[in-house]
Subunit: 448 residues, 2 copies
């Protein structure tokens, strides 16, 4: 594959850039036409790469791209999952180059989606192309590329149910996660689930002059801060009633295995430019992001936020709050528990609304599986070192759904790195990883 | 004055509307030219009303309008203070008519500044005009109309010091406050001071994916909520060290006097559409806004606040926080104490910045003074009921400064009502109050 990459590099860039230039922000209604454009471009790329068929499928939301090449009815089948939608780009002023005008700087591609997930799904298309054209593909390969991952995949589960037979496969292969570090390859064998809600606290039914009412009328921002503050206790435990009931506690042995992953706390802190980490008492940083649930405020707003100093006692305060879940927490149950809890702790002097946004369950995949072993062998060959089994902190809720609906395990060969700052300004993807990913995937087809 | 109002009503509306149409938002740099236009329009109105001289004076910030009519060097001198700047208009979508296109609906003028303070200062210009033209003015009258009240009057104190002789007077007359209710006239004999700060909490130096880092890295929004929550304890006391050191505790007798002001808690709650009030333990609602200090978050923002559900662990969180102060709290001291406290409670895992914005001291004026008695007599005649001495919760910090610099007491004859929702969408001013104010001011000139 190395030689093939060298010979086709410029074309690869052109093709990937043609995807990156499309602002396929799934959460933004005005980008709807871009979603369609991006899906159509993927169909072209799949066909050019060697798919027998590829088409855009309508769903209740953004379209799904499905493509496949059938080698033989008896051959093992690989179902590649990826998503072509991207996160919003704000704060756009912090980008050093325009988010949808990809450019290569210092050995990396800079653009929204460069890694998550256009860059990573592109590796699969090119590894597939190489297998078809140069290496004698032995597998049936199917692609399912969705446009709603960043908004919680509201339509894909239903669509997958309706197309269950078409999607039949032996393994779901996914590159949408990160490796532990540039020098420490890893394969993700578990992901956290997600429960995401939006809350609104209303005090008086109009904005008030803080001089006239301040001190006598509850300020919804102060109340929201009190309520949020009460959600996590001083030991870092989430106080939502029943929250930990279904959390699987790992054995000392399993924790010891995970602790084998190399991790340098000082390097971690220095990368983030923080003096101290913070998390649940009794757990290491890797455990806190891997095997423990957490609660974060993803956004907060209320009152006067412009320049100057308006003395308002606002009517409303808002926050977006999400919880990362671990096996066996059920996303719907946790969302319900949160809503109940948040309403229960609301004081008399405010009204509270809680709106569930999206969610999904976490999952685990066995290290002993054939697919994991093939991936491990492939990455060992490319990186010269055996990949570490890791637990990812992020969530790809749809994978747990697909696993349940199709009865197929997902295998997460992710090639992203922390430095890529996905979801943030200046998202990027190292060319080194792009190419190592292509090689690893091609080798996976050899060993699986 | 009643007859004069009746005869000139339409002209009055035209003149007042010409002021209201100018978007003189002092906190907004792009409205600078409007500030100048508004000042110039006031000069015209003062001259037309009978001022011997009126002019725009440059300051370090927005201009001051000064005008006067001298009757005799021996006559008592009234210095009228008002401000022509207004608050921002957001959220503009909640306005039922455009904020700078005044209109009369249901017996009230709707516009930003209809009450605060263009409407109220206009009453003074028209009462003055009436005295000059029809009632034989016996006082020297001076007007000082500033353009920076809503941003804390950063330039006026310095300008007043430089023009101390020109501003010499016996009383500062101000209409920039509210009456207790439509049927209960009141005269404000004390105002709270203000200390306003902006805070910023920084966690990691970039926005992070909450799935990868959530649970292991302090989220600055959660930390800001914790910090804000800790500023007020469960009894409603502010926890900033030294905050209450200089607060004057009122005697039981003084508290009894204030308690004479009619106040209906149920009506108050129903006006605000709240189930319960909230404030410092051991004090009534009127005491909480009149004689006790308080702390309010006026604005908060951080993370993703758009539509959808971005799973970001943001780098920064911000808030605007203000404290209302009572005699003898010193605004600068309190701002310093707050900054020290906020930095001191910042945990290791974040960086904190605190920026003082603006502030000013509170003040008290004696009920026994000649000016208070004249105002009381005037309002008794207009309203048919003796006005109640009240303590205002709001702040006009510059008045404490002018009192100190010029050695003159301010008298606050305010005609606003709670229903006017100043600083909020749909600010309005009842025509009834506009005219009753003019009459009261004209009678003040008779009895003073």
């Amino acid at each position: 594959m190395k030689t093939y990459i060298e010979a086709n590099k410029e074309r690869f860039f052109e093709e990937l850039f043609s995807l990156l230039r499309i602002p396929s922000i799934s959460s933004s209604p005005e980008n709807r036409p871009d979603m369609v454009r991006c899906a159509e471009r993927l169909v072209e790329l799949l066909k050019e790469a060697g798919a027998d068929e590829a088409a855009v499928y309508q769903t209740d939301g953004h379209p799904v791209v499905f493509g496949r090449k059938t080698v033989s009815p008896d051959a093992p089948t690989v179902l590649v999952y990826g998503h072509y939608d991207v996160q919003p780009v704000d704060p756009v002023e912090l980008w050093h180059s325009a988010p949808f005008e990809p450019e290569i700087r210092d050995g990396a591609i800079y653009a929204r989606g460069a890694n998550d997930d256009k860059g990573q799904l592109f590796m699969h298309i090119k590894a597939f192309e190489f297998m078809v054209r140069e290496a004698g593909l032995r597998h049936n390969v199917k692609f399912i590329l969705e446009g709603e991952e960043e908004i919680g995949s509201p339509s894909l589960a239903k669509w997958a149910k309706e197309h269950k037979d078409m999607l039949a496969a032996d393994i779901i292969l996914v590159s949408d996660t990160t490796m532990i570090s540039e020098s420490v390859p890893s394969i993700n064998c578990g992901m956290r689930g997600l429960s995401y809600v939006e809350v609104k606290v209303t005090g008086p039914d109009k904005d008030l002059h803080s001089g006239h009412y301040g001190g006598a009328v509850a300020n919804p921002i102060n109340v929201l801060c009190d309520m949020i503050s009460s959600l996590i206790d001083k030991d870092g435990h989430i106080t939502v009633k029943g929250f930990y009931d279904d959390v699987v506690e790992l054995s000392a042995e399993d924790r010891a295995k995970l602790a084998r992953a190399p991790f340098d706390l000082e390097e971690y802190k220095s990368f983030l430019n923080i003096k101290e980490v913070k998390g649940e008492k009794g757990y290491t940083t890797l455990e806190r992001t891997g095997i423990r649930p957490c609660l974060d405020v993803n956004g907060i707003w209320g009152g006067f936020t412009g320049e100057g100093s308006k003395t308002v006692l606002p009517s409303e305060a808002h926050a977006k709050i999400s919880m990362r879940l671990v096996p066996n927490q059920d996303s719907e149950t946790i969302t319900r528990l949160f809503c109940e809890h948040f309403r229960a702790i609301a004081p008399d002097y405010v009204k509270v609304e809680v709106k569930p946004c999206h969610g999904g369950d976490g999952f685990l995949i066995p290290i002993s599986s054939e697919a994991y072993q093939a991936a491990s062998k492939a990455m060992t060959e490319v990186y010269g070192i055996e990949p570490v089994p890791s637990r990812g902190g992020g969530s790809i809720p749809i994978l747990a759904d697909l696993q349940r609906i199709l009865g197929i395990d997902p295998l997460l060969m992710g090639f992203g790195l922390e430095r890529d700052t996905i979801h943030s300004p200046n998202e990027s993807y190292l060319l080194k990883q792009l190419f190592a990913g292509m090689e690893s995937i091609a080798l996976f087809y050899r060993y699986y």
